[in-house]
Subunit: 375 residues, 4 copies
């Protein structure tokens, strides 16, 4: 979509509905430039395509390589005030080198050395952590220490103070997901620093947020009303795993529950509203039985998938990759996606769907109709 | 409030703002009667009191006596099509003998003999079961068998087919709560019969609804969107107990979570919305530490409390009772309530609060100000 | 439904699912009475009918007779503190003499003599006025004087202070609608007195509320956010009339807009939410072209209709009346209704639909299927 | 914010929290580039500033110059299939030449010659027209002809077919506002063509949408329920003008209603919900009394203002312009704004506030605290 940032092309071939070239037209177009104006008629193909033409590209990042670079950063890069986090972000090849997985989503590997602290701060960007392997770090969110362990999904909603510290003698890495690109685009970024170290260095097995909220269908009477984000702080793997196993078992017994044959999925939700965990981000865990294959599906909005366990293939538009533990795949808006499980395959997914849905811009297409458009 | 159903009193003492008695006034009042009219000025004291004057009365029912009569009914009364259920309802002494615990709430003990079936039907009234003791019955809700065990809270939202059957060799009794009086008053009762026996006679430990929904903060991606009632079917005692224990432990550690000192409480909620389990009924479990005492509290709307475990005292307005396992206490609208725990005390509570809140008629008053009004 | 307030019938014929009479059963039933209990199986036919069996009855009240009695009250009954209002309410013949048009709705004629004040008070009951004829009274709602004129619909949402005063030399009568019976039943009535006379005795043509809110599709930026009730205070006849005329004109031109052939209708709505004007009450104006006839329709919930202009016939269940200006017809829950217009016919309607809808107890049936059930 | 699209700066001065330069670090950064990764610590200042640092700049466009170029386009550029519209968009100087007024908002002058048609199409982008002068064009939205006249605000919500035609012998120009940049960024653009000419060439004074919906506080009973966008199609100047006049009159009489002294404002709203007219766009009309001056105000999110009448000064951050009829001013996110009225001053404003509010990213600051930050 480079034409958007280029000067108006003065001598392009005359397309349908375009004016004939002439010195007068050239003068008019120069007048536009002088007055900081751009006509619709030369740009409409890019601005108003028949179907979305995302600038982001489908791409895969390999966990093994991310981890190697993160480890090297652990040697060379301090974690402290100013840099704030030892986080290394996916930079979509279609987005000009910016550290954006998609136009709305940030995905990064974050790395903390043994006994290290990431200083406390807060920002309007919504954040989560997902742990593909390891343990030993506690993230302290508004004063509440939250253990991080393989399979856990952990929240840091916008404007809550948070820092991390590694209580163990081993380094730990995990996936960070945020809405940084969206907040950057829309101009709503605020940031504030807190203490250099986390205020509560205890290491409880469960956070206080979980003790109040992580009981199925139960909410504390004394707790404040529904907030804009989930109060639950941590979604533990043992529950996610059990929920996915239940769906596949129900399928075997002949009952509804799975998304499609061999494909179980749960959405992390705000127990106070039933909605998404944070206003801009959706997060889900998917499980495919060995040999299962998802229907071709495309959605308005972008998403990032990370393999949590197992091996399979991911096809996004006309790209196709074998994937294994930790690998990250970016799916741009409206590009068809199919996943095939070689072994049993667990995948974490996050997306900007709440943005699209709250603004009534969402669309989904499932099945044959979602075959890739000619490009 | 008997004057509401009496003919206009023709020779009452002349109160403030009342017309002077006269033959002309008598004639006017006779004219009102003939035309099916009633003036406001003679009724306003009852219709528009300074604060609510509920017709229902505070009262206690003893579980031991209920159970004895239910057992006797088990000998004498069949369960089958026509009578439908062996359920015996609290009839509030202020409500003229109708089987209504309050103007909105129905509370009954239901009793099923060994190997007995209660036939399948459905109705627009919302229903739940709460099990104070025993087990062995499965309630089958829209085809899904739901085990009933001590401490469990089980839903039958409006217009879902349901029947019960006792799989064991022992009788079982439990508490039924419904919005029968409200639905009756408002004229929205529909009823339809189903099969005479429950369609699925299996006896799973967990219902299919729980396998899909009873995972904290997780919702099935494939499930239909938020419905008007909770899809969860069963809220198990192990979770409720753990949530209450967590709140009291948090209090001991100096963190928020309890309603007030020594008083933990959870609300049963719809995981798809975070709201109440059904449109007209709220249900909660409360736990008081031994020696704790609740602040005086009054609320618009009525409620029924059942002691689940322990012993204590309940004061409602100017009435006061010692209570123990299974005892039921009715609290009318705006009557002050205080509960004192002799031992650790667990109480189940249900109320019509969702009606009041959805219609913006709710009010709550806590503390000294809630001292009983002069009556 | 008298059985609900009678002692359990000990020797009723044994119906389906009922126990056989026996001395033991008599003893059991006496035990129930002693313990304030009532079994479901003897009451279920009344409590859980196949379709609603409202206790209220369809009935008509003639405006001419109401007005004559109101005028006579104007001679004999003062308006002042204590009695508060010279209002005379419809007492549904099925509701035991209580001043209730239906179990939820109050409908009354209110009458004010020349230069008279109705004192200021407030209550949690929601109220409106509808003016079938006359003018000269201002109702002052939270200090804002609101002129009352033929065809106007005027709001006094719950807990807003209000009084009326007649600025003219002629008496004035109008229809009052409230949710008194519902609030009475549910126990949520609060009441507070204000000054004996209205605080602002000016007589503006438009209220301040209208000046802020009665501009189509426009809301004041400075105004507080959506409240539970409409901030608009007055809905003027000129707008209602124009909206109804537009719908019938659109129908003549072949465009959608009317409810059914020859039947235009508008709902009075809260411009801050698009919802009903008050949490418990819906109000609408209907216009039938001469000769039009509405489809048979029944709804859960009750309503009151008042003829505003013209003449026609109203059929409610198996009752049938000719009606003319000012006549009031009560339609109980689920009773089929058809209206036929002899001349062009304008009708005001109010109902408890918001209660039903907010609690998901609403049902509507239109057409042949709504033929009266056998009674 | 150019660093976002630049390669990682390898030898920047070492800021707080940054690693010391070294050959190893260079190697690491090269590794990042190879793997399409970007570290947070070098970018955090741009990505997570203390307060928003919008890339868009405050700027003014003069109506007179826009109109002259539009007229010239009328001579040289056809309106037809392919180019679709003779629309010329503001290209914010901070946005690299793209035709975007802000990162979310499109603002353009559209121009139609006498008797000309703009062909029918539809798109997911939400659109409106605002008419600063002229008349004679009808925009036909989903088949409903909507007259366009000075002061009118006219809707074309997403995915509704629409075309325009000029019924008069004079050209007409107006302001188009859309969410093109936002939809482009988020990847949700769909487009479909319709007929080359508008299907209904009649020229009614009022659209059918207005006849159904533009009656204050009244909604058609037969109309479908609340949609995502306003069904009203046209907001006429006579109503907007009256509402603004009412607010200033109320202020003179000592009553609330205005935003601040001498500053009246109305928001165009969806009568079916009370919310904004479309999911992504807010539109308002403001009126300042001569001599009035607004408090300094800043908001998260961007907006475009157009002077409708009068003359005054607009200060945005450290920029300051005198403005008169038709002039357009762009206000980026969080930049302080003050408007001073020399004469009475009417201003149309549109913004992306619904996006911010629905995603809980909105913030507003009014008063002294909003003084420009040091830059």
């Amino acid at each position: 979509m480079t034409s958007l940032s280029s000067p108006v092309s003065l001598h392009a071939d005359v397309g349908p509905g375009q004016p004939d070239p002439s010195p007068e037209l050239d003068a008019l177009y120069r007048g536009f430039e002088e007055e900081l104006l751009v006509p619709l008629w030369t740009e409409i193909g890019d601005l108003m395509p028949t179907t979305p033409r995302p600038t982001a590209q489908a791409h895969v990042w390999r966990w093994e390589r991310l981890l190697r670079l993160a480890e090297r950063s652990g040697d060379l890069v301090p974690v402290g005030r100013g840099g704030e986090r030892r986080a290394i972000a996916l930079a979509n090849p279609g987005l000009g080198g910016a550290p954006f997985a998609t136009p709305t989503l940030w995905a990064a590997i974050q790395y903390l050395n043994p006994r290290e602290d990431a200083p406390v701060h807060r920002h309007t960007q919504n954040a989560f952590r997902f742990v593909v392997e390891g343990e030993g770090v506690w993230t302290v969110v508004d004063g509440d220490p939250v253990a991080m362990r393989r399979g856990d999904f952990l929240l840091t909603p916008g404007w809550q103070f948070h820092g991390h510290h590694n209580r163990s003698d081993r380094p730990m890495a995990w996936l960070d997901g945020l809405d940084i690109p969206f907040v950057h685009h829309i101009g709503s970024a605020f940031f504030e620093t807190g203490p250099d170290q986390v205020p509560d260095r205890s290491a409880p097995d469960r956070s206080r947020a979980e003790r109040l909220w992580a009981h199925p269908g139960l909410r504390p009477v004394a707790s404040p009303g529904p907030s804009t984000s989930s109060p639950m702080a941590a979604y533990r793997w043992e529950h996610t795993d059990a929920a996915l196993a239940d769906q596949l078992a129900l399928e075997r017994e002949g009952h509804p529950g799975v998304v499609e044959p061999g494909h179980a999925a749960v959405r992390f939700s705000n127990p106070a509203t039933g909605g998404d965990v944070m206003p801009t981000l959706r997060a889900e865990m998917h499980r495919l039985a060995a040999g299962a294959r998802t229907a071709v599906r495309r959605e308005v909005g972008s998403s990032v998938w990370q393999v949590f366990d197992g091996a399979g293939r991911v096809r996004v538009g006309d790209r196709d990759w074998g994937v294994t533990r930790g690998d990250l795949v970016v799916v741009p808006s409206w590009v068809p996606l199919t996943i095939t499980a070689d072994t049993g395959l667990d995948l974490f997914r996050f997306s900007d769907s709440p943005i699209l849905e709250r603004l009534h811009l969402d669309r989904v297409q499932v099945g044959a109709a979602a075959a890739p458009e000619p490009r």
